[in-house]
Amino acid sequence: MRIEEKLIFEKSRAGRVGYAVPSTTVDPVDPSAALGPYYREDIPGFPELSEPEVIRHFVNLSKLNYSIDEGMYPLGSCTMKYNPKINEKMAAKEGFAGAHPYWPPELVQGCLRVMKEVEYGLCDISGLDAFSLQPAAGAHGELTGMLMIRAYHKSRDENRDIVLIPDSAHGTNPSSAHIGGLKVQQIASNARGRLDVESLRKHLSPKVAALMITNPNTLGLFEDEIGRIAELLHAAGAQLYMDGANMNALLGKVRPGDFGVDVLHINLHKTFSTPHGGGGPGSGPVGVKTHLEPFLPVPVIVDEAGRLRLDYSRPESIGRVRAFYGNFGMVVRAYTYILSLGSEGMSAISEAAVLNANYLRVKLMERYHLAYEGLCMHESVFTDKRQAASGVTTMNIAKRLMDYGFHPPTVYFPLIVSGALMIEPTESEPLEELDRFVAVMNTIADEAQTNPDIVKNAPHTTPILRLDETRAARTPVLRWRPENR
């Protein structure tokens, strides 16, 4: 195995070509004459490689990655489930992948139908009344939701600009609120790892626009007082926003729309199996109850006796949050997934996901400190407390897992748990893989006692060893430069 791969720029050799320009029968134009003062001569340092070299470069790069298709990827909060291959094939269908977003609706009834069916499906699953598929990811959905809530209050002449957010929330929650022009107030979690209702009550005021809650929350716990919370909020004139990143645990079991949620975003790249692609693209549809429908981004897909059209004339809409209609390719994958799973399959997912998570919870509890006791939903959060004595930290445990062929869990999040190890197996893992993970975690617990250095210096077998992140941040090198050659 080759474990070092030069940068593509370093592999470049003057004069190599990897491309032959298509033929044409029009006369070539002299670009310097055509562009005049705007003409650019060259892009120095831009790569020059033959096609076989390009192939090798990216094949060899790929080999430095770990992926779901190799083994368990228990990143808490990320729902790293199996990404069905048929989804990819469907999204690549020429009729979908080749459709232009500005083709007139009569040419793209198929595309619009896929989108509309996903909207219907998400409504059914979530209990909300209408969805927009425009947001490109979870955080984008959050921003969209915040803007809608703010617009809703404005439409009622209420100037509510405070969003309450639990301290266990994902960083995107406060950030999305802030980017949307709202102010954030943090609410503490209680000893049970749930939102503290008393504290919530104290924060309520005529300035409060919404509570942004994640359910199940980032501790993997169901916010069991959610009914009460919704009542309080609504009574105070505020809206209930739910971060639906963890919907995987709820499918077919309970619907946010049924427990008082007004706005919800869902990550298709988590619950609905679209691949994460090493960082994206995702898709973050946002759903609302009827009173918020007028505020959805434009355009909205309207189903008129089976014909679909795009409605742009929606005076109360917040406008657009991006060009065109969203990450359609991801929507195709999600629809394929919904068709493949159906009603039965949805419940089967949440059941297996929650069962797997609880199984890991009880098995790992033997050697690791569980942050919050009791049944979890899709994930559970451990800490490095019991390893602290030997100086072994969460980060060490994470890195040591790599030596045993596992991707580490999410670490140091949620922030309210010191040294958090957040473990979400999803429904895709077979029992043997869970058992293997437990066995490895137990081995690491042993090593922490008997040979802590091997854990502290991990990883030992990865393509590259522990990287100096401080140096990266202190003297940033964010690009290659020709003079580096």
Partner: protein
């Protein structure tokens, strides 16, 4: 048993016992019974793969593919070499998460580092991030970034900036107290920078101008940058068709502070509008105000080069509401596709392709100019898009050509009422001379 879920009934029972609950029902005990859904969902039965494919093929066939298409307007069809998709869909790239654990993610990290470098090379700027959602939201983020940099709130937006990009800027700005001023175009098709100069003042945060602009005309970023500089404001370049950067002066060469745009052109399928590939580059001095992820180079314990996500203190997972942006999941795989595409075309191929696009557009211009009833609406230098003006309204003409299987670009009246007789046309490497001839012939013949 569903094919995606490994657990068997026996295993489930065994695991429930291990967990200490007696039934699946009990496993969900933390959800108050009153809230629980007491019926199945309304979704249909699960389908096997063949049935799924049948259904999807039915839907695909509800689409109608035109015979000829001259539509760009922010979504650019280009031929994609077969290996781009094949490589990007390798499990290792496709099914990996964001590279939070660098030791097992060097493939993704190095590819992004290469992407960042290519974006820097193309834009002529110092630093580029790992991607944004799309060109429109990247433009809005550039606006927020300018505001962070100089604390000002007035933005001059060229009216020739993609209308949907402008809409997104307005949406993002809704609650921020910004003032967004739009500047019109000269009859040549480029932004009226004199008019812009007249409105610019000390509260000017940035000038935001796209080139080639929505009409396909090259804009004078240098002049815009000079104007911005005069007022202590930033110059933001927007590029929706970055293939132009192979032969057109870069934002960096034109004194811009920030360049944002859409890189879907580089090997990303047109896919009904997404996923696409927003990008952002800037001068070094702005790096701490940039949104989005950045990959940086470092060394491992043995001194070997490696790559990590860095400068994360700008980001939401560290800074929460004080972050430069809320963006988390971005368009990583599209960035990888663009990196593969650009590596393949390379220094020569990218240029050759751009010249070919230019040549086709030039032929289209000539053919229109030589027609009886059509005229070029704008005469400024352009790249691969142009605006043709008909004698009558464009929308019905567009519909007539549709009946012949031709998508005659975009009727501009919707976005620009004053251009209701105009169509925005796009040509690219798969457009043949005969296609242009046919289009012009058909449009020209409508009037007779």
């Amino acid at each position: 048993m569903h094919r995606y879920i490994p657990l068997t009934e026996t295993e489930k029972q065994q695991m429930l016992r291990a967990v200490g609950v007696s039934s699946m029902e009990d496993l969900f005990a933390s959800i108050p019974a009153s809230l629980r859904l007491k019926r199945p969902l309304c979704l249909p039965e699960p389908l096997g793969e063949l049935d799924v494919e049948r259904r999807m093929t039915e839907l695909e066939r509800q689409n109608v593919e035109p015979r000829l298409c001259f539509l760009g307007a922010g979504a650019y069809y280009h031929h994609i070499p077969a290996h781009v998709g094949q490589l990007a869909s390798r499990s290792e790239f496709l099914t990996a998460y964001t590279p939070y654990q660098p030791e097992v993610s060097q493939g993704t990290l190095q590819a992004i580092f290469e992407f960042q470098t290519m974006i820097c090379q193309l834009t002529g700027l110092d630093v580029a991030n790992a991607s944004m959602y799309d060109g429109a939201s990247a433009t809005a983020e550039a606006m927020l970034m300018a505001n962070r940099a100089n604390g000002r709130g007035t933005f001059l937006l060229a009216r020739s900036l993609h209308p949907e990009y402008r809409q997104v800027c307005r949406t993002y700005a809704a609650n921020l107290g910004f003032k967004l001023v739009e500047t019109g175009s000269t009859p040549q098709g480029t932004t009226d920078l004199d008019a812009a100069a007249a409105t610019a003042g000390p509260d000017l945060a940035a000038i935001i101008m796209q080139s080639p602009n929505f009409f396909g005309c090259l804009e004078d970023w240098s002049a815009a940058s000079a104007l911005a500089k005069k007022h202590g404001a930033l110059s933001i370049a927007v590029v929706a068709e970055p293939l132009s950067l192979a032969i057109a002066k870069s934002p960096g060469e034109c004194g811009c502070d920030i360049a944002v745009g859409e890189a879907q052109s580089f090997g990303v399928p047109i896919s009904f509008g997404g996923p696409y590939l927003g990008f952002m580059a800037a001068l070094d001095k702005h790096v701490r105000n940039m949104p989005g992820r950045l990959v940086g180079q470092t060394v491992d314990r043995n001194g070997r080069r490696g790559f990590v996500l860095t400068l994360a203190t700008r980001e939401q997972h560290i800074r929460r509401e004080k972050a430069t942006s809320n963006i988390c999941t971005n368009e990583g795989l599209c960035a990888l596709m663009a990196t593969i595409y650009l590596a393949t075309l390379g220094r020569h191929g990218l240029r050759d392709l751009a010249v070919l696009n230019l040549s086709l557009a030039s032929y289209a211009r000539k053919t229109i100019a030589a027609s009886k009833t059509l005229r070029l609406r704008f005469h400024a230098a352009g790249f691969n898009e142009l605006v043709v003006e008909l004698r009558g309204p464009a929308a019905p003409a567009h519909r007539k050509l549709l009946d012949k299987g031709i998508v005659a670009g975009l009727p501009l009246g919707g976005f620009y009422p004053e251009l209701s007789r105009c169509l925005l046309l796009y040509v690219q490497e798969t457009t043949r001379k005969e296609d242009i001839d046919e289009l012009v012939h058909e449009l020209d013949g409508l009037d007779s």
